[in-house]
């Protein structure tokens, strides 16, 4: 699946998007898998309460299942307007 990062999540991980092959069941599983790979992920995801997730461009949460999802995005709370 495509995994996208925005704002300081993007800066900490060091790239705006990447293709990830995973068998993670939920968003939380995916995060754990990424964090186990490299420190920059662990740094970005250190405080999950400061991170929001969207699945296929709809806001979701860390418990949500990834089955059928093609695009996962992680970002800080939005500051539009």
């Amino acid at each position: 699946m495509e995994v996208l990062y925005f704002a300081w999540v993007r800066e900490r991980i060091g790239l705006p998007r990447e293709r990830v092959e995973t068998r993670a069941i939920t968003v939380a599983d995916l995060v754990a898998e990424l964090c186990s790979r490299e420190d920059r992920y662990a740094a970005a995801f250190a405080d999950l309460s400061a991170i929001r997730v969207a699945l296929d461009q709809e806001l979701s949460d860390f418990d949500a299942p990834l089955q059928g999802v093609r695009e996962v995005a992680f970002f800080p709370p939005m500051t539009g307007g």
Binding site: A7, R10, A54, Q57, G80, G81
Partner: protein
Amino acid sequence: MRVSVQVEAFHLGAEAEGFAQANNSAGAIVTFTGIVRDAPQGGLVAMEIEHYPGMTLKALNEIAQTAMERWSLADALVIHRYGRLAPGEQIMMVATAARHRKDAFVAAEYLMDYLKSRAPFWKKEILNDGGAGWVAARDEDEDALTRW
């Protein structure tokens, strides 16, 4: 109803006038315009606005559509810029047209509250001392959603 996500500056005067003319049977028109303010500590050189292209239009359309239905609006307009903006530049605007002023006001406030916290934009302040920082979401903006 029109929603636009754009790099280019918009012309508040032309947008407000066009919106009001197009809705001149509506009775009440409200506009809100957001302008890049200096940083709290001063020294803002620019505001960089990042967004999530695949999601932004969809999110704005959903927010505007909900407002249209909930307050029986005659029309709604949302324009939001991204990219690098200087202090004093207009970031975004919303406009609402309704039969009565209450609906036009409350729908515009709804649009703003949701744009603030549910539209995928992020702002970074670039300062003249070389520093830069992402604008943190404010608790009061998140809290504002609870009233809807």
